[in-house]
């Protein structure tokens, strides 16, 4: 094949994706590198509250990497426990989002088009109010003298208020509530595109509706389930607001520990180490997994053309 000058010119597509990537580099990659730098510094009183990594003196540049934060992370069981607990909370949240969100997304995707848009609007509607306000509303609902307990006692279902507020259960309720739309949206997009003739083909070949669901709908909606689960799981791991407002003192999550190190203990290097380890341990493997999934889908789509 003969090459001409066009092959060396950046295609218009590349130019179009420069601004968002520049934005991400500036506001995601650069801050992360700063955090990485701070994680290797030592605690110091003053502004900023940490030492610099490189020092000049005696015609030599001395680079000192402090690993106090990392050592503490791997020796103090508090941190390992917090990591595990964060993953547990995120996993349970994701599981509930899958169990509750799948039927909702399925029902919406199978509704007639007019109703479908209305139902999607209802799913997105909560985003019109700030998350903080919505979580405050849950405080009002779940408190011992809140709406839920009031209703249940008025109905005579219970005699004493249920202790939900400031427990793990309250955190789960709040998290599932807040993240459910993030699961429903990508799954709905996958389900609504599913060719219904494939289901007819399955019925035609002897599959009952539930068998057709298990063997056709479910495997074909896998990309939507995975995308939704990622969108729920990843931010759930580092969630701060919901455990802080609804959880008890012993609901330990990464977000709260980070907050504590930064603002209560003013130990920036420690907080930075926690962040770095979380990113490397959790998010990088997930990002690689996600990349593999996307590539697989792209290949399948290219093949269809």
């Amino acid at each position: 094949m003969k090459r001409n000058w066009r092959d060396f010119r950046p295609p218009a597509r590349a130019l179009a994706i420069v601004p968002p990537f520049a934005w991400l580099a500036l506001f995601l990659l650069v801050p992360f590198l700063l955090v990485l730098k701070i994680s290797f510094a030592d605690l110091k009183f003053g502004v900023p509250p940490y030492t610099s990594l490189a020092e000049f003196g005696d015609e030599a540049m001395r680079v000192t990497l402090h690993v106090r934060g990392y050592v503490l992370l791997f020796t103090d069981s508090l941190y390992a426990g917090t990591y595990l607990n964060s993953i547990k909370v995120a996993a349970v949240t994701t599981l509930w989002c899958v169990l509750l969100g799948y039927p909702v997304a399925y029902y919406i995707a199978r509704s007639r088009p007019g109703l479908r848009n209305l139902l999607m609007l209802a799913v997105i509607l909560p985003f019109w109010t700030s998350l903080l306000l919505r979580v405050y509303a849950w405080v009002g609902i779940l408190r011992n003298d809140g709406v839920l307990n009031g209703l249940l006692m008025w109905l005579g279902v219970i005699d004493r208020p249920l202790e939900i507020y400031r427990t793990d259960l309250a955190v789960y309720i709040g998290m599932v509530y807040a993240y459910l739309p993030f699961f429903i949206l990508p799954l709905y997009a996958t389900l609504v595109k599913l060719d219904l003739r494939l289901l007819e083909a399955a019925y035609d070949l002897g599959a009952r509706p539930w068998q057709a669901f298990l063997r056709v709908t479910l495997p074909l909606s896998r990309p939507g389930v995975l995308a939704g689960a990622m969108l729920v799981f990843i931010p759930s791991v580092g969630e701060y607001v919901i455990p802080e407002m609804l959880g008890g003192a012993n609901t330990l999550m990464m977000g709260r520990v980070m907050w504590g190190e930064f603002f209560t203990n003013a130990d920036w290097p420690m907080a930075a180490s926690i962040t770095v380890v979380m990113v490397l341990l959790l998010l990088v493997p997930l990002a690689i997994f996600q990349y593999g999934q996307v590539r697989q889908m792209e290949q399948a789509r290219e093949g269809l053309r």
Binding site: D195, E200, A201, A202, Y203, D204, L205, G206, A207, L304
Partner: protein, 376 residues
Amino acid sequence: MADGRLAAQQYPGDPDAFVRVVDLVKIFGDTVAVRSACLSVRRHELFALLGSSGCGKSTLLRMLAGFEQATSGQILLDGEDITAVPPYRRPVNMMFQSYALFPHMTVEANVAFGLRQEGVAANEIHDRVFEVLDLVQMAGYARRKPHQLSGGQQQRVALARSLVKRPKLLLLDEPMSALDKQIRQKTQIELARILDQVGVTCIMVTHDQEEAMTMAHRLGVMTEGRIVQCGTPQEVYAFPASRFVAGFIGSTNLFTGTIVVDEPDHVAIESEDLARPLHVSHGVSEPLGMEVHVSIRPERMVVSRGQPAGERNWAHGMVSHMAWLGRYALYQIRLDSGKVVEASVPSQALSQTDAPGIDDEVYVSWDSDSATVLAS
């Protein structure tokens, strides 16, 4: 099922019918998709339902498959009433227009789907899947996914998948519509050959009259939710029952006139479009003076520069348009009455004579056995 057999006996029609559709009606909201369709298909027969889009043929096929519930009427298969049987319990399989192959499964898994659903033993599934893949010459592609196959290959897999359960009735929904025009005709003959080899009873739906005539043993022409004529391709082409069928199966020249002579072996019809009466060499049941239509196919029209002998079955006119189509040339000739008729002249005949061109004066003539009288 006893009442199903009873209904089969009550229905007057082909006693050998394997598939029987009795007064089938389907109404969606306030539109009638299928109104009182009646149909008999024999065992091992390849039957084509032919009609333009929206004529109800697809709805009829979907009722045969069980995807749509009939509003009223009956479907009998091998003497059994299957009208209310859900699709997953019917001994009927369908090859979909878009093939509807499962994109997440290999060719082998696609074909095996129906057998697994039946609970057939694994080694038997393997044997039967490869037997049918061999039949469609796709055994070498068993591990591929559908998106790695060409349109023609996907069609063969879809055919294999619909045959592997050995259905009593196979349905084909526009089997060629997703293929390129070049490979269509070859595929039509190949598909008809495989279906004959398997001996499966088959009902196909198509809007393409050539496809129906190439593949089917018999065909039924559908319009406005009704099957208006059934017969072999030759019968329907030579003796269309109505103006609609005459125009739909091939093109035709129609003359409107009244019967002036009615003898057992011929009739004469006077038409405003023709200076001389039309002679038709078959008798009709219509009375004298009744208005009828006469159909003469373009290939039965003879074009000549000289005046034909005799006093009937010819007309004078002028060539208004001519199209060279390779095997034949299509002439449009404006008769003296203003009526435009079409005549197709084989290339061979054209090269032998001094071919008339546009604005040339010509005569068109036809034999009295070339014309067919249509009552409606």
